[in-house]
């Protein structure tokens, strides 16, 4: 559990559009790495390339290497399905499966992989929901549909679903952007707890959030429409927010643009 990621010379394309150019960075195990930057700078695209979700979009292409504890997830012969079992993802919009109950949502990954042992599934349901700080709120209605929960609860349900398969790395794509401040706080507390066991990468538009939850921060930027996004700098979060080495980072953080 909890592995490190090394991204080496990553270039990402949508058809002919060069979306992300030459990104190299390290994501440390058992820590939170935040990706920040203006819209269109490619931070979500980079995140989606870390568990091979980028290639789900027709016409997309990847160059470069992403090493999970030294193993290239883009090596020939590597099955993207297996990569995604090891590197989980939580999306911007909470997306519980509408036809499944709360319990089935949590263990969907295991059930669809063929796990049938009911006791084991029940155990994992409770552990994952407790891990996502949702157990107390839903333990009496595990058989009700997941779509009946509030937005914040649905997002925590999705986190429970993602950690139920016990991934090595958890990717979060703006997980709080559709939530109210109280639900956001609940998720941020959760991230702080999860990093004891997981490697977490989070994309966020909220710079206070990046400052609150992350250990290191990567700032991405884009020169203009149609230009590729680039990594400007990455460093310890405290340093990026107090004393960045690049002018662009300082401008963005102090709100002079973006």
């Amino acid at each position: 559990m909890a592995k490190r990621l090394d991204i080496e010379n990553l270039n990402l394309y949508y058809n002919k559009f060069h979306a992300v150019q030459d990104v190299s960075l390290q994501v440390h195990a058992r820590s939170v790495t935040a990706f920040i930057g203006p819209s269109g700078c490619g931070k979500s695209t980079v995140l989606r390339s870390l568990n091979r979700m980028h290639e789900v979009v027709p016409g997309s292409r990847v160059e470069g290497r992403v090493l999970l504890d030294g193993e290239n997830i883009y090596a020939p012969g590597v099955d993207p399905v297996q990569v995604r079992r090891t590197i989980g993802m939580v999306f911007q919009k909470a997306n519980p499966f509408p036809t499944m109950s709360i319990r089935d949502n949590v263990v969907a990954g295991l059930k669809l992989a063929g796990e049938k042992n009911k006791r084991k599934l029940d155990e994992i349901t409770e552990r994952s929901l407790r891990g996502a700080n949702l157990w107390e709120e839903v333990k009496d209605r595990l058989n009700k549909p997941g779509g009946g929960l509030s937005g914040g609860q649905q997002q925590r349900l999705c986190i429970a679903r993602a950690i139920a398969v016990q991934p090595d790395v958890l990717l979060m794509d703006e997980p709080c952007s559709a939530l109210d401040p109280i639900s956001t706080l609940a998720i941020e507390d959760l991230i702080a707890e999860l990093k004891k066991d997981y490697t977490i990468v989070i994309v966020t538009h909220n710079m206070q959030q990046a400052a609150r939850v992350s250990d290191q921060t990567a700032f991405f930027n884009v020169a203009g429409v149609g230009q590729p996004g680039k990594l400007v700098e990455i460093g310890e979060t405290g340093k990026i927010f107090s004393n960045p080495s690049q002018k662009a980072t300082e401008d963005y953080i102090s709100g002079r643009f973006g």
């Binding site: 979700m53 997306n95 509408p98 036809t99 990954g109 669809l112 549909p145």
Partner: protein, 304 residues
């Protein structure tokens, strides 16, 4: 602040809300009347058809024999007998049609949306399906006649009818599957992929259950539509007044064919059979629509 004098100095204002002018009242009423009238004009023929059907078709139906007997051995002037032979034919023919058209059509729909999206093959298929959905039923009948009977040398039979109905039902099933899969949000597919679920399992366990209610409703409505088709039946199978369970051998009755044949028997008993069969067909289609509504409620995505 000199509020006391300010109030006096303020200019007089007209009230914001004034009574309705006569012209607007007249136009308002005219519009309401016009639309109500259109509604009445549209509903009258529908009600008329229904009333005529029930008034003439109800009498034969009230006889218990109607549901258990055929017209076998009846002379043109004999009342009595039943529609059982035609019910058997219609149900068998449409059931076999559905057994072929539903798996095929749903699979094509899945291919078009889940695998072929925007590929040349998918675009061509969609175009062909569009053409097929405008195919007149008589042409479907002629095509099957040329293929199944003239070229392959089989006899006219209930199964040939089923084949022609497949041609008519297939585009409906493909279309409805496509539409229903299209409205399943991509976020759900991605959520499933992100859990390490393979694509085919994502389709079977996540995408299809989410759209099941709509697909089922569409299939059943398509079924109800081909059930009343008459033109291919006239070409592809002979009418029989006896009960025939065998789709592959001999003439076979069906409800539309019974209506058509009974009309040619220009006696009072013939009319009695014709209206009885017509009402039975309408009731059957109504029943199927009802089942569609129930199924769509049963399989609808729940939030409570």
């Amino acid at each position: 602040m000199r509020t006391d004098t300010a109030d006096i100095e303020r200019p007089a204002r007209t009230p914001a809300f004034q009574p309705l002018s006569l012209g607007r009242k007249v136009r308002n009423h005219a519009a309401t009347t016009l639309f109500a009238l259109a509604f009445v004009v549209a509903v009258i023929p529908l009600l008329w058809v229904l009333v005529t059907l029930v008034r003439r078709g109800l009498v034969p139906m009230l006889n218990a024999d109607w549901w258990t007997h055929s017209f076998y051995g009846l002379l043109p002037n004999d009342f009595g007998g039943g529609i059982y032979h035609a019910l058997v034919g219609t149900l068998e023919q449409t059931l076999v049609c559905a057994l072929i058209a539903v798996p095929l059509g749903v699979s094509v729909g899945i291919f078009l949306i889940e695998y072929g999206r925007n590929s040349r093959l998918a675009k061509t298929t969609t175009f062909m399906v569009d053409i097929l959905s405008g195919l007149p039923s008589i042409v479907a009948g002629l095509f099957i006649y040329a293929l199944w009977i003239t070229t392959f040398g089989f006899d006219r039979s209930g199964f040939a009818v089923s084949l022609s109905l497949v041609l008519l039902m297939l585009p409906v099933v493909v279309r409805v599957t496509e539409t229903m899969l299209m409205i399943v949000p991509d976020e759900l597919r991605e959520a499933s992929y992100a859990l390490g679920v393979p694509k085919w399992k994502t389709i079977v366990k996540v995408v299809l259950p989410t759209s099941l209610s709509g697909i089922l409703t569409g299939i059943i409505l398509g079924l109800a539509r081909v059930m009343g088709e008459t033109a291919p039946l006239l070409i592809l199978v002979g009418y029989s007044r006896a009960i025939n369970f065998n789709l592959f051998d001999g003439p076979m009755a069906s409800l539309p064919l019974t209506v058509y044949t009974a009309r040619k028997t220009s006696t009072e008993a013939g009319e009695y059979r014709m209206w009885g069969a017509a009402l039975t067909l309408v009731l059957l289609i109504m029943l199927i629509n009802l089942i569609a509504t129930l199924l769509s409620k049963l399989f609808a995505v729940k939030t409570k």
